[in-house]
Symmetry: C2
Subunit: 478 residues, 2 copies
Amino acid sequence: MEEQEGTLPQKADFSGWYNDILWRAEIMDVRYPVKGLYVWFPFGFGIRKRVYAILRELLDRDHEEALFPLLIPEHEFMKEAEHIKGFEDEVYWVTHGGTTPLDVKLALRPTSETAIYPMYALWVRSHADLPIKVYQVVNTFRYETKHTRPLIRLREITSFKEAHTVHATWDEAESQVETAIERYREFYSRLNIPVLISKRPDWDKFPGADYTIAVDTIMPDGRTLQIGTVHHLGDHFSKTFDIQYEDTKGQQQYCYQTCYGISERSIAALISMHGDDKGLMLPPEVAPVQVVIVPVIMKKREEEILQAAKTLEEELTRAGYRVKTDNRDIRPGAKYYYWEMRGVPVRLEIGPRDLDNDVVMSVTRSGGKEPLPRAEIVAEVSRKMTEYVSALHERANTHIKEHLFIVKEQEALKERVSKGVAAVHWCGNRECADRIEEISGAGVLGTEVRTDLIDSSDGDCIICGKPGSVVTLVGISY
Amino acid sequence: MEEQEGTLPQKADFSGWYNDILWRAEIMDVRYPVKGLYVWFPFGFGIRKRVYAILRELLDRDHEEALFPLLIPEHEFMKEAEHIKGFEDEVYWVTHGGTTPLDVKLALRPTSETAIYPMYALWVRSHADLPIKVYQVVNTFRYETKHTRPLIRLREITSFKEAHTVHATWDEAESQVETAIERYREFYSRLNIPVLISKRPDWDKFPGADYTIAVDTIMPDGRTLQIGTVHHLGDHFSKTFDIQYEDTKGQQQYCYQTCYGISERSIAALISMHGDDKGLMLPPEVAPVQVVIVPVIMKKREEEILQAAKTLEEELTRAGYRVKTDNRDIRPGAKYYYWEMRGVPVRLEIGPRDLDNDVVMSVTRSGGKEPLPRAEIVAEVSRKMTEYVSALHERANTHIKEHLFIVKEQEALKERVSKGVAAVHWCGNRECADRIEEISGAGVLGTEVRTDLIDSSDGDCIICGKPGSVVTLVGISY
């Protein structure tokens, strides 16, 4: 791409930085000729592939992957009243095949409850068929009329991982909700993304759910990004789609269900959390290139240096690293810039002096330059990777701590949420929530907050002063 | 599912067998409430996942995976005249977002040339950007008005692997066509599916291509299934979409392109080629379960036997096999039936007598029962797998040989193509081809046949008798 044009905006200008990093690091091409649809560059796809491999690994422990159709017939889509109300304005409709109008309009799934549950009604017969724990990774669609943004608010969500489970009892479904939350926590921990987990207020739960638990993170500009949700569906959908099982006494019973999803917003969070003014900083597990070798050529010893680089690449590749040697005929500085932009964890430089000294010069993407003994290179690179992951972890945690505020006074609220997330006490009344949102210009994210970062004991409602009010997160969401 | 209902039709009744195996082996559920759309059961998805892992492995050698949007705006879709003619009757159109009519109609991709090439026009600047070798695995759509059939003729092709390459010269593109053919040959060889590769006649090439090379196999009923195509696109699309590069002399030149695809028909072929009257026979590499252990319980020694089964499972799992122990409380015969249906390569039975004799009883899915010494079990199972793969290979090759006929006489043609593929000599004139199709009730598949199975020297045209005519395949296609 047009690498050399201008420079990456500083990360303090997050919106500018985010738009630029997408093409400069070759994650997404935003020039596709339809609003809200984007192209995954190969490099970006390489990140996506590895992120979703982690997600699949975690789910494959006790879920099964399947695949359901994209197109949902209107009559199924319209069955669950609350659900359709939540989606009807943003559903794309297929109305024609060739030049022929279709008898039944087909919705592009915005989410797959209404595609999957008619099948579950056929799959579930007896208690022995339960639980069902199935997931799929699919493209879903929303006709977004608001401002679209790559990976965050799009019209084709290319990578929606959605799990749908069926249980005999409400309690079992609740326990599955807890399992899902733990699985998501583990997922984001693997990506070194700190999360805030809370229960969405009733008016903001998934259309058709008993309750919704959400996973949010705080972006560099202090706004929150919802990067996962877990829904207890009760028996709403099983009653609508007639998903029943015969219990041990021979009685027909309605099932209880959950569903939970993660989209490519996980990758928006990954990019944003770890990047800096120079570009991406990718966790090694999801970095398409983990080690880049830059031969620093002196004409006289060119062959010797290239050979040393080759041997080094082979040794590290054998040790299991994804290694790239950059032999392009451009100056080393341009190579450093290029690979720093793409978030490669460790750069190794090898020049005449290094050869003479039996060392390799290492530069870690999080900072720090150090010569490493050539003979110990595999162990030394492993040590560098560990240091690097610690640095990412540290940076991310610092970021969250610096953007999470305990707010006791109404007067401080607006200023605080302009910088991050406020934890306030709220009595649970809708009127007080409306007032919080009015004062702050932000939204009530949720209660029952699960985090060690703040004291979660009860207090006086920030609006009405009612004692025994619960800790509640307030923030401006993407 | 409803396992016990009736029995699998014999494979000689291929159509009945195929329809039944899909649900009996839990590959696809055909009960989704829209014609031509099907659901991948988890077991079927497990096969699909492994088949596509092979395909990705082969392409990742020198291609990059990317991802382009599903929705193609009408103005891009309509740009290439021949191409649109080939697809216009079978394109699904999205016309509404919510209740709002869209300004620009959006096509669901039937294939992605018109989604990808506007981006390539942006990506290619100079000769240094070439070649581009990118692929994606996506869902594509065809509004099929003919009879639909799972995995073979569907409205949502859930698993289309399409590669799109860009080159500086026509010859380089031709050489890429050859590479692609070799890659596809390797892919089907890994799946033990024998293929017939030929050049499609001009009237049957891909809309907008210079020429098309196709990969066909012969199904159990003698009909052919196209399971891969490779197209040399010349500069048709690069001229339409303005894909140009600056050559070393500073001149703007149009690029030359290829594209090649494989869909889930590869899985239809896999299932059909290797199955028998008892169900699937899966190549170990793509079998979700490679070894099933069935404990043959005698009440007195139940615990001892279950423990032995567990140890056995652990040992084989450590050795890298995908192993399942079937501890269900049903009779052993029902378990045998169940796992044979699902094509598990090796079954191991372990009962009191086996324990006493330090053996495990093995039954290979291709036939053969043999006690294996317990102490050597890993090596012995490996030997069994090798035997099994040879048997699959042998069976498949025999099948192709028995369904490929050299036909010299017009009179024999119709009868032969009712049983398989006929190799005839054809002078290359369209009139003679029409006559071949008229007589045979079959189609001309292609010339320049690449196979060792038949002598490919020239001969007299089966219609007009012209000498020096080329070997041409004729068959009834799915």
